[in-house]
Amino acid sequence: MGLLSLLRKLKRSDKEVRILFLGLDNAGKTSILKRLADEDISEIRPTQGFNIKTVQKDGFKMNVWDIGGQKAIRPYWRNYFESTDILVYVIDSSDRIRIEETGIEFNTLLEENKLAGVPVLVFANKQDLPTALPASEIAFGLNLHAIRDRQWQIQACSAKNGDGIQEGMEWALKTNK
């Protein structure tokens, strides 16, 4: 894995890419980010503010912003929308009860002017758990099938064992607005 190897997938034309990670609390945003950066994921605490990872090489730059998803922090999300190239929305696929809740939250994001037309990668995380919903059911829960004004991709993944994360990020970097 590693963020540097991903950076090479970046198209020549865009020198800088800004990726925004959002999703409900406990979805696994920070775990995915740490997994990407080859850092230890065993001691992760709920994010009270935000994390940012920047990688730079040969004039290319990637910024990944990971914002806390707790209810009290969600109103601050909008401070981070500006000049986002890719929105990465992370879901806890094993939390059936909250799929629709996260769907409502997600659909409000899609209405934001500053995120208009921004491609969306949905990480259907925690696929290692036996109760995880398949990607297609999550697509329905999030109302992805009603989207016409932007590209979207759903990637089943697990921050725990690393499955699917590289593939998802590759799609994100190959895709432009």
């Binding site: 009290a72 601050y76 629709e100 398949p134 990607a135 297609s136 697509a139 109302n143 992805l144």
Partner: protein, 287 residues
């Protein structure tokens, strides 16, 4: 959600109409089993050089120029567990571009059944379908009639599921040929556009009515979800209140060191962790 882009409401379809104008009205949906070359084809239409796209697990749309026309293409994933989303795009499409991989026998067999199922969908009734027999570069010789028969096209026509002038099997390659798009792709598309134009007013009307109906369904679905979530939230709030009362009860009746019935150590539990509201300084705006 299909919220309107011009005024933000959910019942007006003006922006849908204006999007249509931008693309001369024509929308084509590309479908077919995974790995048949749909996204590679989309890149040919965008005139870029991509030949190895990532497998699609979702939806991509592009409005491209083709023979002085603007055409909107919808590309969706073809893997078995994502195919369920296809039906959500039938209403808006003027015709179908169906992909098969001619170098893969299993793919042809499976495509036969899929073809019959999709053509029976009311929303695609009497709309033209172009079947691209893709990857012909991979095989020695493309046997047209053999593939035609394997797909059971004759029987689809005789059963009235489609008609002889609404379906065309056409060979092509989505890869670059001498750095250019395969001219057979253009010929196939020309056929499809001509067929649409033959029936333009019927198709336009059908698209308009079916799309309106579908948008209403999407909105209803969303409203129902919203209701369920609100009920669930209420329930959860009530449960938290109940739990607190019980804890009170427990702590009032137990002596200090006895094992409580309900653990009071909530610091490890994520669901009930206390949430402080953080001042804005801790959450600075991005640079």
């Amino acid at each position: 959600m299909v919220y309107c882009k011009c005024c933000g409401c959910i019942t007006c379809f003006r922006c849908f109409e204006s999007d249509k104008k931008k693309s001369d009205g024509i929308v084509f949906l590309t479908i077919g089993i995974n790995n048949t070359g749909k996204t590679t084809f989309l890149h040919r239409m965008m005139n870029d050089k991509v030949e190895e796209p990532t497998p699609t697990w979702g939806f991509t749309t592009e409005t491209v120029k083709f023979k002085k026309r603007n055409i909107t293409l919808y590309d969706v994933g073809g893997s078995p567990s994502i195919r369920g989303i296809w039906v959500n795009y039938y209403a808006e499409t003027y015709g179908i571009i169906f992909f098969i991989d001619v170098s893969d026998e299993e793919c042809i067999t499976q495509s036969k059944e899929i073809l019959e199922t999709i053509l029976k969908d009311e929303k695609l009734k009497d709309k033209p379908i172009l079947i691209f027999a893709n990857k012909v570069d991979k095989i020695e010789k493309f046997e047209y009639m053999e593939t035609y028969n394997k797909l059971n096209i004759e029987s689809l026509i005789s059963q009235g599921i489609t008609s002889v002038n609404k379906i065309l099997l056409y060979p092509c390659s989505s890869l670059l040929i001498n750095k250019e798009r395969d001219p057979r792709i253009d010929s196939g598309l020309e056929w499809l556009i001509t067929r649409v134009n033959d029936d333009r007013s019927y198709i336009e009307n059908k698209v308009k009515n079916d799309t309106k109906k579908q948008n209403r369904e999407f909105i209803l679905e969303q409203e129902e979800k919203q209701k369920r979530v609100e009920e669930y939230k209420k329930l959860r709030a009530q449960q938290e209140v109940d739990q607190k009362q019980q804890e009170q009860l427990v702590s009032n009746t137990t002596n200090n060191e006895e094992i409580p019935l309900i653990s009071k150590d909530k610091s490890k539990s994520r669901s009930v962790r206390s949430v402080k509201v953080y001042p804005e300084e801790i959450l600075p705006s991005p640079e």
